[in-house]
Symmetry: C2
Subunit: 354 residues, 2 copies
């Protein structure tokens, strides 16, 4: 493997000195880029694109060719794991993901196996290997997975949801079935992430998109507990470097202390908490990633710059900050606005370092 | 007007002693009740039901005939105010509210007037008067409105939204236009709520359903600021009794101190914060309303009882707690489960009082 030419992202996650704050954007390979839409059309369906390592590599690299981002993230979907468990995933136009065989009972849970990352999920590992080769050491590659709770919401609901009726009914009425499901998914995710590291991922991120719909007690028992179990089971070093792990619970601002106690290296933040407050609370234990409202990218480049400046000032001096949006970039954002965002982070962050 | 036979709800909001914890449910007059669905069919569209004072009264009273609830809430919709401003509201099957004339520019904002509560919105005041007469003092009647920010999200998006692109673009790119819109809506809401009190409402609640999508700074400037302005402009006494005001920001758990500082009497809580923590933080200033996850009502009556017991224990001894769900009751809940919930609150709360 080639030597890493830009390791600011990895260094910031470990709170080692950097010359400027590294930046990437959640969903940076996505529909806001015309070149992404072109590759997507060529690929066929969204899952066809995920399952084609060459094309997944192509879209992973597209934003790096446009913007001087400090990290690449594997192009994939969090639902690859439940798909590999045999739930029959498809994506319908406008309605999002649908599982033809949702998990609703103890019997359904008992039938689930842990997929072989180099078997049913080999296409993901092939994508990781292809991307690492093509990246040629430009920036580190992030591997990722959904959290067990977040994956379970889709698996039980049979797709996206507004009210989470089925998964909440299972949680409240049959908690032992829910725990058994989460246990299986946690083992699957651990194997999946470790295989990504073996294939070349240099950092890992766990997306807990739906942890924030839980009560504090249920968040600890049904989401955080399984993320902590995964963190404890991960390969934390590869090719002589530490592989940092980032936990991100959307709407989890109240629970940062608990999240930091899992042994992860960094927390992802959405925009409903200020990064200064988060640093005061958990900055001695973990690095922080975030947290500009992605909707700021609808505003003018000047306004974007002001918002970047405010977040940098709020975090303050020193390493331990990876700049990002607080959620994925929206599809109707102008690429030029993303460019202004990345440039502002690099330029305005220098005085806070060295 | 008849004398109030059950004033536990009003007393609890003012932290005066009660013999048990009063309870009501957000959206208690709603689709989970077969008798509601029957009246709704008779009425025609959802807005036809809202605009018919006799039928609005009928559905307001339905849950009280089933369950020994301690408060009634006016049956209406938060979008009556923007509708009266001329935005052309309709409800489409499955897609929710749609405004044919969304507010997108300074010109659009400039055209908006403050509706006369006894003019375009007279049907709401007639409903309040009818309900007060028919309630005959059984329990207090709650009047309500959406918060200016929440109403603005619908007005600018032209309906419900997932990404809030238009309203966020206005907020970040044209904040002065957004402030001008919120200023107008705040004046309209103040007049609307005061008219509800004049018509007979005995407590008021402001629903800030979408305050939680904002950054802490923007929440203060674009949502809380206008709610505080409304609270300061409200009639706080009627017929010799105080008219308590409840503020509810969904996802606002981090901002309770700021909310309590507006001068309101109580805060509504969703289930993502524990009521014990909320009481420790702001219980000396305000009463608290909430906060069981409405999805618990999908579980067995025994499980519902356990959850009620846990929340009562978490709040602890003394007045200042109105039991409620943390959000509206879901449409697929069995009415018997709602009955179990109400009974559990009344029965299990007695040891915490007197």
């Amino acid at each position: 493997m080639s030597e890493l030419k830009n390791d600011r992202f990895l260094r910031a996650l470990l709170k080692q000195p950097v010359d400027y704050t590294p930046v990437w954007m959640m969903r940076q390979a996505g529909r806001y880029l015309p070149e992404y839409r072109a590759t997507r059309t060529k690929a066929g369906s969204f899952m066809d694109l995920c399952k084609n390592p060459e094309l997944a590599c192509e879209v992973t690299l597209q934003p790096l060719d446009r913007f001087p981002l400090d990290a690449a993230i594997l192009f994939s979907d969090i639902l690859t794991v439940p798909d590999a468990m045999g739930l029959g995933l498809s994506f319908t136009q406008g309605e999002g993901p649908v599982f033809s065989k949702p998990v609703r009972s103890a019997q359904d849970v008992a039938r689930l196996g842990v997929p072989d990352p180099e078997g049913e999920l080999r296409y993901v590992m092939d994508a990781v290997r292809t991307i690492r080769r093509e990246l040629d050491g430009r920036v580190p590659l992030i591997g990722f997975s959904g959290s067990p709770w977040t994956l379970a919401t889709y698996m039980v609901e049979g797709g996206g949801s507004k009210e989470y009726s089925y998964v909440k009914k299972m949680l409240y009425d049959a908690p032992q079935v829910m725990h058994s499901l989460l246990e299986t998914v946690a083992r699957a995710v651990t194997a999946y992430l470790n295989a990504q590291v073996a294939a070349g991922a240099q950092a890992l991120m766990i997306f807990d998109t739906w942890g924030g719909i839980l009560t504090p007690r249920d968040y600890r028992n049904f989401s955080l507990h399984y993320m902590a179990q995964i963190v404890a089971g991960l390969t934390r070093e590869a090719q002589g470097r530490k592989v940092p792990v980032i936990l991100f619970t959307k709407g989890g601002g109240a629970w940062l202390e608990d999240m930091a106690a899992t042994g992860c290296d960094a927390l992802g933040l959405d925009w409903t908490i200020t990064i200064g407050e988060a640093r005061r609370r958990v900055g001695s234990k973990v690095a922080l990633q975030g947290n500009m409202d992605p909707s700021v990218l609808y505003a003018s480049p000047q306004r974007i710059r002001e918002e970047v400046a405010a977040i940098l000032a709020d975090y303050g001096k020193g390493s331990g900050h990876v700049f990002n949006l607080g959620h994925g970039i929206h599809q109707h954002v102008e690429p030029e606005h993303a460019a202004a965002f990345v440039a502002a982070v690099h330029e305005l962050s220098r005085p806070y370092h060295g």
